[in-house]
């Protein structure tokens, strides 16, 4: 009796297990082969990603983790030449502007198909643009961010939009119309958000049906089932195991991808990514901590340093601290900063001192400009002239964040603060978590001075200086409160509308000089190159200044 009682649960459990076993079927493809392809390369390239993709429709994304995945499966009319920030033909073989820069004729590549078998042609291009233009209120308020910032408006306010229409001339000729000539066009079409996707799949998956629900956005089915023309296609997103698997598109129009599969393994913790690389369970990962670069190299890995395409600056708010209204004070601050030492001691190898508000990889960069030298004596005398000796300054930095342009905000702040103190400035230190008051504080103008930066989206001076000072009414540099703010914004708009590249670049070079010598709305600090690390077995990764690496040429040795 006693034994039966004890045995009952065991028997029950066994019975339940047996019943369950009867219901569950293995769904494995028979003969699933691991890494058993012939030859001396593996058939999977495993990449350690820092975060999960938001959605798989890049039109509704702004983050690098999403774009890293969609870039492998999608292409735009305009592409980026590997290893540079220059545009090159992708789905369009060539393009030509009209004399006034308002009509662009694109000649499309022939014989390209989406992975659902439908053809890529002029009608598909126009369908894509009309789809992006025709967004509802929910999508326009947030998810379709890249269209908002580059095109300005959607169909509901068609007059304010840069995009003015698309016309399919014949099977492989498309004309795109824009409201005015701008330096950003057609370069902006290289943005991942503007990739060409299958009209059929978008119709079936109700691609534009973004809704606000409660305090979040609900995305349509298509957002998780993208169909495009790239060298890979999405196989599956295994959320439970935090992996995204891509498989080669065997019908790709160009050179087929060299490795059959790409797996993105999502590992939020940076030191865990490093350990995974060491253990050999991933082949590469993004943004290794600069502190680890030497260690990674001595383990035989390749640390690939991308040309810097970003800027770190110290923002200044003259409305909060009236002393900053005087150009001499702002110049004094810049003379006081020992940026050479900062770059050598606190920033990764290859970081440089900023001479202007854009890195040298951007067209319109002024090579003649010299960095303000480190000159504490001059800083002191300028402060004296301005009657600002011993001024106090509330200088903020963010915690709980690391950005490519600012790997360690606290250390950078420490160094800059002690430089300012050396010339007699009283610095009040404020620190707040990045998304715990810091970004809001900058937007609301709470600090006298703060650290922030920007990573460029594409090769365009307007994407840097235009973003910073182009919007006269509201910008982080508070130029509305200055005598030059209006003039600067107007000049930037004028430069942006010059059709001829040579003339346009010259205009930006002049503006960069004026910004640094006459206005100095903030203090440019440095450009830091972000890195990417790959194991010694990996070949064919080309580091991109835009962090836009394409993996179809990658092979992984056994």
């Amino acid at each position: 009796m006693k034994y039966t009682r004890k045995a009952t649960p065991v028997v029950l459990a066994a019975a339940v297990a047996l019943t369950l076993t009867a219901c569950a079927q293995s769904e494995r493809a028979s003969g699933q082969g691991g890494a058993s392809s012939g030859g001396d390369t593996k058939d999977t390239f495993t990449f350690g990603a820092a975060g999960a993709p938001e959605v798989f429709d890049p039109f509704y994304a702004t983050d690098g983790e999403t774009f890293r995945v969609t870039r492998q499966i999608m292409e735009g009319l305009v592409g980026i030449k590997a290893g540079t920030a220059e545009v090159e033909p992708e789905l369009a073989e060539k393009w030509e502007p009209s004399a006034d820069g308002k009509e662009w004729t694109f000649t499309l590549r022939k014989g390209v198909k989406f992975t659902d078998g439908t053809p890529f042609n002029a009608d598909a291009v126009c369908y894509n643009f009309e789809r992006m233009f025709d967004q509802n209120e929910a999508a326009a308020a947030g998810p379709a961010e890249y269209w908002s910032t580059t095109m300005g408006a959607f169909k509901s306010k068609a007059k304010d939009s840069l995009y003015q229409g698309c016309e399919a001339k014949d099977e492989s000729t498309v004309v795109l119309k824009v409201a005015r000539a701008t330096s950003k066009f057609p370069t902006m079409l290289s943005l991942d958000s503007f990739s060409m996707q299958s009209p059929k799949a978008m119709k079936e998956g109700d691609a534009n049906n973004v809704k606000t629900q409660g305090e979040g956005f609900a995305y349509p089915k298509y957002s998780f089932n993208p169909v495009a023309t790239g060298p890979y296609k999405l196989e599956k997103y295994d959320e439970a195991n935090k992996t995204v698997t891509l498989v080669r598109n065997d019908d790709y129009w160009g050179e087929k991808a060299k490795t059959k599969k790409i797996v993105f393994k999502i590992i939020p913790d940076e030191s865990t990514r490093r350990q995974e690389l060491k253990a050999g369970s991933i082949d590469a990962y993004d943004l290794p901590n600069p502190v680890d670069w030497n260690g990674l190299k001595s383990d035989g890995n390749k640390v690939m340093v991308r040309p810097a395409f970003n800027i770190l600056y110290m923002g200044l708010n003259p409305q909060k601290n009236p002393k900053l209204k005087d150009l001499k004070v702002r110049q004094a601050l810049l003379y006081a900063l020992n940026r050479d030492q900062l770059v050598k001691t606190q920033l990764p190898d290859g970081a440089t001192v900023a001479t202007q508000f854009m890195p040298e990889t951007v067209s319109g960069y002024n090579k003649e400009l010299k960095a303000y030298p480190y000159d504490p004596e001059k800083a002191k005398s300028l402060l004296k002239e301005a009657g600002a000796e011993g001024m106090s300054l509330t200088f903020a930095y963010p915690s709980e964040v690391s950005r490519p342009y600012m790997p360690n905000p606290q250390k950078i702040h420490d160094a800059l603060r002690s430089d300012l103190e050396k010339v007699g400035i009283k610095v009040n230190v404020v620190t707040k978590p990045w998304n715990g008051g810091y970004l809001d504080g900058v937007d609301n103008g709470q600090f006298d001075a703060w650290l922030l930066g920007w990573t460029g989206d594409y090769d365009s001076a307007d994407n840097f200086v235009g973003t910073f000072f182009g919007n006269y009414d509201v910008n982080d540099f508070h130029t509305k409160a200055t005598s030059y703010g209006k003039q600067l914004a107007d000049d930037l708009a004028k430069a942006d509308s010059i059709v001829d590249k040579g003339q346009r670049d010259a205009a930006y070079e002049k503006l960069n000089q004026q910004i640094m010598e006459e206005y100095l709305p903030g203090l440019p600090i440095s450009h830091s190159p972000p890195a990417l690390v790959v194991s010694p077995k990996v070949q064919g990764v080309v580091p991109s200044p835009l962090t836009a690496e394409e993996f179809s040429g990658v092979t992984v040795g056994k």
Binding site: A24, R28, V55, A141, S223, N241, T272, E276, S281, G436
Partner: protein, 336 residues
């Protein structure tokens, strides 16, 4: 007994209602927010205002709470804005739960399987080498931060010896079938034994790291409790009656000594949930703890609300089970 259970469940409903209000207000009073998390350094004052309005976050708090309650009553707990944008927060919780349960169960098994026998032996051989060693071990278990322990374990077993995986729930490329979301169980159900074994191997290191604190606590309570019971009159009586040592140990000492231990195990569940946040993070195990950490940095309100309320419910339920177990072990509780 039934009345007792019903009363406790009703109390739980009250707790959840009050807590939901507190959590709602607390989350929104934190600096930063969903909108600045979504826009990051691309934010402009314009885009921030537009998005805040679209999501209804510009409304007074009581209006927002009213809407929240109304939606919850119709079964809608809101959508994630950061962890997995667009996903229903409750679904997200349910899909993340299996990983955390697998991890917690294994951690608890390790803690109990090591803590109780060691505690008992240490008490029986007080001041012996075993006793001293175990005490030092349990102190280390409490004192060493989980992430450091995790680092050491990974370094030895994953990198130097290469016998266990560094992180994750399952190796990539296994193509395992998903049934319940419990990877170990799924492998058994579908007879994909390799998948099951692989998932189990992924659990060992995180479970060891997570078990360190509950192990230490269980060990110390067991030891203290056994020492106390050994001195009781009824143990002496049993000995003088000439009962077999094994009977005395199992029936008189262990059974009585285990009462406080059981309560402790119940209380440790709360600690396990806290520990899971860190452990899942460093082992990149996509469970509830990992979701909680991500949701917090991204101010994913809907997900945070569901996770915190679910943690409260779990805590109450586990302690209810503990109280019932208590009654099973100690007949006196039943009659009360």
């Amino acid at each position: 007994m039934l009345r007792f259970i019903v009363r406790r469940l009703l109390q739980m409903v009250g707790v959840v209602i009050v807590l939901s209000l507190l959590v709602f207000i607390w989350l929104r009073s934190l600096p930063g927010g969903t909108v600045s998390a979504m826009l990051g350094d691309r934010a402009t004052p314009e885009s921030t205002a537009r998005l805040t309005k679209q999501l209804g976050l510009d409304q007074p708090l009581w209006v927002q709470y009213g809407r929240f309650v109304k939606r919850v009553l119709s079964g809608d707990f809101g959508l994630s804005t950061g962890v997995l944008p667009g996903r229903d927060a409750l679904d997200l919780f349910l899909s993340r739960m299996p990983a955390t349960i697998e991890l917690s169960i294994l951690a608890l098994i390790i803690a109990v399987a090591a803590g109780i026998p060691l505690g008992y032996l240490a008490a029986r051989r007080r001041a012996s080498t075993l006793d001293n060693l175990s005490i030092v071990g349990s102190l280390v278990g409490v004192a060493v931060p989980v992430f450091f322990l995790a680092f050491v374990l990974k370094y030895i077993f994953a990198i130097q010896l290469g016998v266990l995986p560094v992180s994750g729930r399952q190796s990539t490329g296994l193509d395992a079938t998903r049934v319940t979301g419990f990877f170990v169980l799924d492998g058994i159900l579908t007879r994909e034994w390799d998948a099951s074994w692989d998932a189990f191997k992924h659990l060992i290191l995180p479970a060891l790291a997570l078990s360190s604190i509950p192990f230490a606590v269980i060990f110390r309570i067991t030891r203290a409790s056994v020492l106390e019971v050994m001195d009781e009159d009824y143990v002496r009586t049993a000995e003088s009656k000439g009962l077999a040592t094994s009977t005395i140990r199992s029936r008189h000492i262990l059974r009585n000594a285990l009462l406080p231990v059981i309560t402790t195990i119940g209380l440790q569940t709360g600690g396990l949930l806290v520990g899971a946040v860190l452990t899942e993070r460093v082992f990149s195990l996509g469970g509830v703890g990992d979701a909680l950490a991500t949701a917090f940095t991204l101010r994913d309100y809907a997900v945070l609300q569901v996770l915190i309320l679910a943690a409260a419910v779990t805590f109450v339920l586990v302690n209810l089970v503990v109280d019932i177990l208590y009654a099973v072990i100690d007949p006196r509780v039943r009659t009360r």
